[in-house]
């Protein structure tokens, strides 16, 4: 029943599209697109920004509803005071189910794409699954007089890409968290997993929503869950403060996003994607003709507002201050939310509304510069921090800058690929740091840990960390991170006027490699040393748990031999601790953590494949220019195929570049040059010292990465005998104040404090006074007045007859006087 209803709704949706679509799109619907396609392809650029809409399968809504179910069940567990790990298993099962349905949706969608209905159509095919009418409000029958925001899911390839890795990572990290949070079993455990599931639900709404309002719902939802989860240790004031900071800074971005959505509605008359893309299509046409100046200013303003919202959520330059502090939350939270999913929401937003960004003259350049500068600044800060989780947080900020810069240099494929690979290796890095934190009672200072990778039971963590660091640093050829970063760098140097951005990104790549391996060489290799952290009490007497962990068997394919051999006394005896005379024993991770780390490490390598190749490539439809289609797909592999088949495809890039280089004067020539620059528009307008940009970058970025690793090796591994000091300490004084400033995060937080927080404090104190004296005073006056009147009048009630008589006589006298005066007028 529900199924038929939804299918029918979906069918009606697509029919509605057919009626509303303009002449340019009637061709893109259904089968038989030959005329439109050939016309579009003759120019060498793929067709108009229309989207082919089809009905979606009802199982796509399960991707969203299963996490919601998990949230409800975990909340019930909390109410029922469950004291086992049940909430964790509920979450893992539901999220795993969501992942399964995500795969199913992709397969359902891919069939359509491969079948050729929208094979070379720019916007690709989207399936809309209508769940229920959330807001459907009309106050007239004119074009701008009704507002629809239904709870419907817009599934195209971009959505599939995002949902696949979001749900996949969420499942793995839930499994990790089931062990990581095990010391908190009880109310806190249920609360954690409830918020976790709610987060996945919100993220799904954000990614899969078919209108901007549903995206905003998800946006706010992930912000809320981030707040809840960062402030999970609510008894810690620093955690509470960090949660508040995250929420408030996000809010600033959300304001601009809301404004952008409203402006979108004002200008386009709708906030549903299909409507927006339909109405933006003419602007894309104008762009392709090089006529960017005739695109209305409002339409150019919308993406600027949207991007300001994205800056807040994805921690770009002015609004990044919340992300390092967000490390106060438990490590699974940091891994999932602040590495892989929530912070990529900004990237997703820009990718999803990419056509709008393309038509704006200033939006993408701003995005590019902000991204590049963010990357650089964050890298410099990370070089000087000592808390390894903080370093990873700043590296996240830096890599997000890369993604934004990638979007700006017109490789949405590169940005998406970097999101994809970054999700895996950053999650892995965070989880490894978390394992360290978990095992060493909260110790995260790299001056107090050393040689962890060679401690018994820590080998998997060490290997995972190494794999992650290699990816982050972009070690050539064998790491996925290298390939995705290379796409961005290559495109940056290929476009003539993003070369400056390209240089900044290149330098940042070197710094990234350096600080990443600084962590690795200090913490995981070298002489063995450890000091317990602040949470010592949690681990003090946990020897039984150690034994239990030691007994857990692994899973095929992971080197756990050392771990399996540990039992009882042997386990304790083998822990090397030099220096400290305490009875503290580090707590190596158990099977859940090791499983997840292993899977992620393997995935980090496997991720090379989707980034570079497309194993699912299907035969192109008849009439499609095979060469351009193949080229199009080959660039960026499977991910590239997914991205370019959606609305995030880079369209009209040649024209875009033309107009941005030479202005509108060359609009007439763009058509001919379009034919010359076929396909995906990554023809080499610029070169890197005479070499073709992409190929040059493949070599140069590898070299830069290797240099960074080498420097770190020299400074932090060679000749290091203690945990606390290394050769780098000798260089620090030579850098003078720079090092100090970098370590103190360039005093950005303090600057914001003076600029914004303190004035707001003063203002709110003033308002408190206003409230207390003016508002409360006004209300009190209402109570005071009758009492005062009563106090004044009470003496007249003396109870004496004479007083009353006098009053009466006096009153009569006065009245008569008045009457007399009146009548005598």
């Amino acid at each position: 029943m529900l199924l038929t209803h939804i299918l029918a709704a979906g069918a009606i949706q697509s029919q509605g599209i057919a009626e509303q679509a303009g002449s340019g799109f009637a061709q893109t619907l259904g089968v038989g697109l030959t005329s439109g396609l050939s016309a579009g392809l003759a120019s060498g650029v793929v067709g108009s920004a229309g989207v082919a809409i089809a009905a979606g399968h009802w199982t796509t809504s399960l991707i969203v509803l299963l996490p919601l179910l998990s949230f409800v069940l975990c909340a019930l567990c909390a109410a029922g005071r469950v004291k086992s790990k049940l909430p964790a298993w509920i979450t893992v099962v539901c999220l795993g189910g969501a992942f399964a349905f995500a795969v199913h949706s992709y397969l359902g969608l891919d069939g359509h794409i491969g079948g050729g209905e929208g094979a070379a159509v720019h916007g690709g095919v989207a399936q809309i699954t209508h769940l229920f009418d959330w807001i459907n409000f009309a106050w007239g029958s004119g074009p701008g007089e009704h507002f629809i925001a239904s709870f419907a899911f817009y599934v195209d390839t971009l959505t599939c890409l995002w949902m696949l890795f979001v749900t996949g990572l969420a499942t793995l990290i839930a499994l990790y968290a089931s062990e990581y949070m095990s010391h908190d079993v009880g109310a806190g455990y249920c609360r954690f997993f409830a918020a976790f599931s709610l987060f996945v639900f919100s993220m799904a709404c954000l990614v899969m929503g078919d209108n901007l309002l549903l995206l905003y719902l998800g946006w706010e939802g992930v912000g809320l869950c981030s707040y809840l989860l960062i402030g999970y240790f609510y008894k810690k004031p620093s955690a509470v403060a960090a949660a508040k900071k995250a929420f408030i800074v996000n809010r600033i971005g959300d304001l601009f996003l809301a404004l952008g959505i409203m402006l979108c509605w004002v200008h386009f008359g709708s906030i549903e994607y299909k409507e927006i893309f339909a109405k933006a299509a003419p602007y894309i046409e104008l762009l392709k003709q090089g006529n960017i100046d005739s695109i209305p200013a409002i339409a150019q303003l919308i993406p600027i507002l949207l991007m300001l919202g994205a800056f807040g959520k994805s921690a770009q330059l002015p609004l990044y201050v919340w992300l390092p502090d967000a490390m106060e939350g438990p490590t699974p939270v940091s891994a999932l939310i602040h590495a892989a999913t929530m912070v990529t929401a900004g990237v997703y937003l820009i990718a999803r509304t990419y056509p709008l960004f393309l038509i704006s003259e200033h939006a993408l350049p701003i995005v590019g510069w902000v991204g590049a500068l963010t990357a650089l600044v964050a890298a410099t800060i990370a070089m000087a921090q000592f808390d390894i989780k903080r370093i990873m947080a700043y590296s996240t900020v830096s890599q997000l800058g890369y993604m934004f810069a990638g979007l700006a240099v017109l490789t949405s494929t590169g940005a998406a690929a970097h999101v994809f690979t970054h999700a895996f290796f950053k999650a892995m890095l965070f989880l490894s740091c978390g394992a360290v934190m978990h095992g060493f009672a909260g110790q995260l200072d790299l001056r107090k840990l050393s040689g962890v990778g060679s401690m018994p039971g820590w080998r998997v963590v060490g290997i995972a960390m190494l794999v992650g660091c290699l990816n982050l640093a972009g070690f050539p050829i064998i790491t996925a991170g290298y390939w995705s970063k290379d796409m961005i760098l290559g495109e940056a140097f290929a476009n003539p006027h993003t070369i400056a951005i390209g240089w900044i990104l290149l330098v940042t790549a070197g710094l990234t490699a350096y600080y990443t391996f600084r962590v690795y060489f200090r913490v995981f290799v070298g002489p063995k040393y450890y000091e317990p952290g602040d949470e010592l009490h949690a681990d003090g007497g946990d020897h039984d748990a150690h034994a239990a962990h030691g007994k857990h068997e692994g899973h095929a394919g992971h080197a756990h031999a050392g771990h399996a051999g540990h039992a009882g006394q042997e386990a304790h005896a083998d822990r090397g601790h030099t220096g400290t005379a305490s009875h503290f024993h580090p707590h190596p991770p158990g099977w859940a953590i090791n499983t997840v780390l292993g899977v992620l490490a393997v995935a980090a390598f496997v991720a090379i494949i989707p980034v570079t190749m497309n194993p699912f490539k299907s035969a192109p439809a008849a009439g499609v220019n095979a060469a351009t289609a193949g080229e199009h797909e080959a660039h960026g592999g499977w991910i590239g195929h997914l991205v370019q088949s959606s609305t995030a495809a880079t369209v009209g890039t040649a024209a875009y570049l033309e107009t941005h280089v030479d202005g509108a004067a060359h609009s007439g020539q763009s058509n001919s040059t379009d034919a010359g620059h076929a396909g995906a528009g990554h023809a080499a307008h610029a070169t890197f010292f005479g070499f073709e940009a992409h190929k040059a970058m493949m070599v140069v970025s590898g070299i830069v990465g290797a240099i960074g690793i080498l420097v770190a090796f020299m400074l932090h591994y060679v000749g290091r005998t203690t945990a606390a000091r290394s050769k780098a300490d000798a260089i620090v004084p030579l850098l003078g104040p720079l090092a100090y400033w970098a370590q103190r995060k360039w005093f950005v937080d303090e600057f914001y404090d003076i600029l914004i927080v303190k004035p707001l404090w003063v203002l709110s104190n003033i308002f408190a006074l206003v409230d207390k004296y003016l508002v409360d005073g006004l209300v009190d006056a209402f109570g005071w007045a009758p009492r005062a009147v009563g106090r004044t009048l009470r003496p007249s009630q003396s109870g004496e007859i004479h007083g009353y008589a006098l009053g009466m006589a006096g009153g009569i006298a006065v009245l008569l006087v008045i009457v007399l005066l009146v009548t005598l007028q």
Binding site: E800, H802, A805
Partner: protein, 120 residues
């Protein structure tokens, strides 16, 4: 002078002769004065009985005014109403005196200021 003496001794004719307006104003003045005296007495004196006596004075004054006006308008309605006023005054006086006796029995005092239960 003879005019003065004439008018003084003979001045005002009886009913049904006409009654002059200035003569009326004399009577009204007397009535007003008596009324004010009664009012001041009522407010000033504390003895309950004397207070009621003053109210009777006020009745008297009203009566004079009514009869004078009746005489002026050559209408006996003024006197008729004085009859009723008299009736009401009698009834009220009897009730008031009965109450005064009861009040006196309670407090052994005729001081009107003793009764302040309605204070506040």
């Amino acid at each position: 002078m003879s005019l003065l003496i004439n008018s003084v001794f003979l001045g005002q004719a009886g009913f049904p002769a006409e009654f002059s307006a200035p003569a009326l104003s004399h009577y009204i003045l007397v009535s007003a004065l008596m009324f004010i005296i009664g009012l001041i007495g009522f407010i000033t004196r504390r003895n309950l009985i004397v207070m009621f006596l003053c109210t009777e004075l006020m009745f008297q004054a009203a009566g004079i005014a009514m009869v004078a006006f009746g005489r002026y308008h050559l209408d006996l309605t003024g006197q008729t109403f004085v009859v009723f006023v008299l009736t009401v005054a009698a009834a009220e006086a009897s009730m008031a005196l009965a109450l005064i006796v009861l009040l006196f029995r309670r407090k052994e005092s005729l001081n009107a200021e003793e009764w302040q239960d309605m204070k506040g």
